[in-house]
Symmetry: C2
Subunit: 143 residues, 2 copies
């Protein structure tokens, strides 16, 4: 982060003063081709705004938690699982993930899926499905 | 708002289940051609995400407040005043408005300026400049 009030977008979903981070920093959660950038993390704000990008063919971890995810697609297209249903996603679509609801984001086969994700600064850790349970939960996402 | 976890963008910066609201609901704050939509307002989230759109040639109120504004441009282009400096803005640029800092957003003459604005749910009311003071404060925005 810099002290400049304006941080410019470079035209390729990277921003001045914003590091590209590992998507997961611990554990063995299964995911593929996901990057993470924290766009706003002001200590006086009770929430953070992050940008996640899933490369074509990739997916985020299938997980659930008490805290709510508020998501807005800003690049590409894909699909998401929320609870027991899958939804197609396109630019500027909004997704609300309720508490303790299994969810996962997939990029399309030939397009990235980039989305903003708004969360409370104070939040619980994600839970992962038990071994064998993930395939069952993810069924609605299958073509 | 609906109970559906996905609310679709209609391709023209309107969303399913999201009302287009008046920009200011009280007072005589000067502004021109601004609309407001609340995209996320989940009671369990400590912040709200709003979408403001300034029509070509329009501007938001010149104001300041204790609460921080975190802004991301998602449509068009324009300029913003933050403190004593003006900045050009383009798609996906990020703006952080610090506490008690005068700020104003202007659309370009031939393009709208649409931006997300993240704020705490609990926040103070904006202050307006005293009569005659606005012209002085807004000088950096003059062409």
């Amino acid at each position: 982060m810099t002290d400049d009030p304006v941080r410019r977008h470079d035209g390729r979903f990277r921003w001045e003063g914003v590091d590209v981070l590992a998507y997961k920093q611990e554990g063995a959660a299964p995911f593929r081709d996901v990057s993470r950038q924290v766009l706003f993390d002001d200590p006086s704000l009770a929430a953070q705004l992050r940008y996640f990008e899933v490369a074509p063919g990739g997916w985020t971890t299938l997980e659930r938690h008490e805290h709510v995810h508020n998501v807005m697609v800003i690049r590409g297209k894909g699909r998401c699982l929320v609870g027991e249903k899958a939804y197609d996603l396109a630019q500027n679509d909004l997704v609300s993930v309720p508490p303790m609801t299994w969810h996962q984001f997939h990029a399309g086969p030939d397009a990235p899926l980039g989305f903003l994700c708004l969360v409370n600064r104070e939040r619980d850790r994600p839970q992962l499905p038990a071994a064998g349970e993930a395939a069952e939960l993810g069924k609605p996402l299958s073509p």
